[in-house]
């Protein structure tokens, strides 16, 4: 496939045709939207969303995750005798409910914090005030469930360890 076009362009003519067709569809959509006086806001939100996700949201949550792992590893050095201190398994039982709670908050913060209380009330005749409590209840159940699961795992492991002696750790 290394014809002259392919070397100059980097792929086959079919690639260029499909690419241009895809841009033509986008161009058509933006042309239709240009009848709106607020087109510029649409474009700001379209490209702003990439920046907000790639340069704000993702670095923040990834940073918190790495920070959590670093603290976990560091805490392991404080009590070298205690196997549960500084264990990534224990960390995950905090991290997973935290991530799920965070996703729910990210998605439903307008309801949870009553950002649009006035218009919500006017439209639906209901208040958004129940949502903060509901979200907190979900968070509580997630952490409690995760904690309970961890406790059961640790208890079972201790019991197995007691039965098998220290060999269980070598596996």
């Amino acid at each position: 496939m290394s014809g002259r076009f392919s070397r100059e362009y980097g792929a086959s003519p079919a690639h260029l045709v499909l690419g241009l067709a895809s841009f033509a569809i986008a161009g058509f959509a933006i042309l239709q939207l240009s009848a709106l006086p607020t087109l510029v806001n649409v474009l700001i939100w379209l490209f702003g969303a990439v920046i907000a996700h790639d340069f704000i949201l993702l670095p923040i949550y990834a940073g918190i995750g790495r920070g959590g792992i670093a603290i976990t590893r560091w805490s392991a050095t404080l009590y070298p005798g205690e196997r549960e201190v500084g264990s990534i398994e224990v960390f995950n039982h905090i991290r997973i409910p935290a991530i799920v709670s965070g996703i729910l908050l990210l998605m439903f913060f307008p309801l949870i914090f009553g950002v649009a209380e006035e218009s919500f009330k006017l439209t639906t005749g209901l208040s958004t005030e129940v949502y903060l409590g509901r979200w907190l209840a979900i968070v509580a159940v997630l952490f409690a469930g995760s904690g309970l699961l961890l406790a059961l795992r640790l208890v079972r492991r201790r019991r197995d360890r007691g039965r098998l002696g220290d060999h269980a750790d070598d596996q």
Binding site: G10, A49, H53, P110, G125, V130
Partner: protein, 444 residues
């Protein structure tokens, strides 16, 4: 970097390894531009392929049901389009007509739109996380073809985030974005679908190879897999020890998506299931009275003057030169029909009730308008969209389409459209106009 194979798509759209690199400067190998910056051992083609495939299913459902919703709004009739017309696609929507046949049609299609759309968001976040190293790949531009791909990706990710963010804010009733939601969401989906087609043509071979090598679900069984960092930029060259398995990560995100789907289904199916719709915008139960069901728009929001709904209210029914004016007592004296029909909102919630009133077609007969192709319905409503709506032939002629006066055996409440409202099988909620004061058969 991606190895070439000999499948159809790869032959048609694959990159040429001997391509000339355009004279673009490369970012220095520091920070995220350095490959060793990316440490996660679970990132790689399998995770991206698996998440992407699940996301694709959800997105196809959203795209199809979103298109159907546009058809259901009958945008080519009267002022139904509200904001923007359909431009060169007008012919398509003129040709397609929304049926009145199955009463729950819109409740199901639009319920699915919102259920799948909301459930897709955790998958989208995981998908974007899995490919973030590609954003910083070097060389930034390998060829003109590569430049085109990356430009398309900006539109792809931008429109994807745009669709999910605007949709999510819309169902929560918050509009901070300074543009009209409906046309922006609708046309952004064109940008998205256009970019998706290119993306699929370019990436499906990679997905196929990864599934062939590692199995579609094998890593979910807890088996560890080794991915070659020379094969793809997302695979870490110097990975940290794993802190979570692929199974754990996909399980967490999948469970979150499932829980979201169940919550959204709760507000869509309604009844006792509304109680599990904890975070859904219509996840609250109003009460147990006959008028205690979800309100689409309160009388206060529509700026209804209570005086206009009292003794002086009368319904004008018009067809051609004929005209009749009916008081509420006149309407109640006509033969009444009771039908169980849902209000199905574009925001993805529904509520089915027992409506009692006069079939629209009977009112049409009174003025000789029963053969009309359209019915213009007008309301006392002073503000907001849909103070007037045009119904199509299937809707106006269906025996179950009512001018409802009562619900669940009692008079409609003011918030539910007293003195009279429309209820049509299978139509979007806002086409069930409330506080109706004028019906014009064949006016459009």
């Amino acid at each position: 970097m991606e190895q070439r194979g000999d499948g159809f798509l790869e032959r048609a759209f694959g990159a040429d390894p001997d391509a000339r690199k355009p004279p673009a400067p490369d970012p220095p190998q520091i920070g995220p531009f350095k490959r060793s910056f990316w440490k996660s051992p679970v990132r790689g083609p399998w995770l991206t392929s698996f998440t992407g495939s699940a996301l694709l299913v959800a997105i196809v459902v959203c795209a199809v049901t979103g298109f159907l919703s546009h058809v259901a709004y009958e945008t080519t009739l009267g002022e139904n389009a509200v904001v923007l017309g359909d431009g060169p696609l007008t012919f398509l929507y003129e040709w397609l007509s929304w049926p009145a046949g199955w009463a729950y049609l819109y409740a199901v299609t639009q319920g699915m739109h919102v259920i799948f759309g909301v459930a897709a968001i955790p998958l989208l976040l995981l998908k974007l996380w899995s490919v973030i190293p590609k954003f910083f790949e070097r060389p930034a531009v390998r060829s003109l073809a590569h430049m085109l791909e990356r430009t398309s990706l900006a539109l792809f990710i931008g429109s994807a985030l745009f669709l999910f963010v605007t949709g999510l804010l819309n169902i929560q009733g918050w509009y901070p974005f300074g543009f009209s939601f409906v046309p922006a969401h609708y046309y952004a989906s064109f940008v998205f679908v256009g970019a998706l087609i290119l993306h699929l043509a370019l990436k499906l071979p990679l997905v196929a190879r990864s599934f062939r090598e590692h199995g579609v679900t094998r890593p979910l069984g807890g088996q560890t897999i080794e991915e070659d960092s020379a094969l793809h930029e997302t695979v870490a060259t110097q990975p940290d020890p794993a802190t979570i398995s692929r199974r754990g990560l996909v399980g967490m995100v999948g469970a979150t998506s499932l829980a979201l789907a169940v919550m959204m289904a709760g507000q869509s199916i309604g009844g006792p299931l509304r109680r599990i719709a904890l975070l859904a915008p219509r996840g609250q139960v109003l009460g147990t009275g006959p008028n205690d069901f979800q309100i689409n728009k309160t009388a206060a929001a529509a700026q209804i003057d209570v005086a206009d709904t009292g003794q002086k209210w009368a319904l004008d029914v018009i067809a051609g030169g004929e005209q009749a004016s009916l008081t509420r007592a006149d309407l109640l004296a006509l033969p009444q029909v009771t039908e169980r029909l849902p209000i199905a909102c574009v925001e993805g919630w529904s509520t089915a009730q027992d409506w009692t009133g006069v079939p629209l077609i009977e009112l049409g007969r009174m003025v000789g308008g029963d053969a009309a192709e359209t019915l213009l319905v007008q309301s006392l409503q002073k503000s907001g969209s849909f103070s007037e709506v045009v119904l199509n032939r299937a809707q106006l002629s269906d025996e179950r389409s009512l001018l409802a006066l009562q619900v669940n055996g009692v008079d409609l409440s003011l918030d539910h459209g007293f003195p009279a409202r429309i209820i049509v099988p299978g139509a979007p909620g806002v086409h069930n106009t409330k506080w109706v004061n004028r019906l014009s058969f064949g006016a459009v």
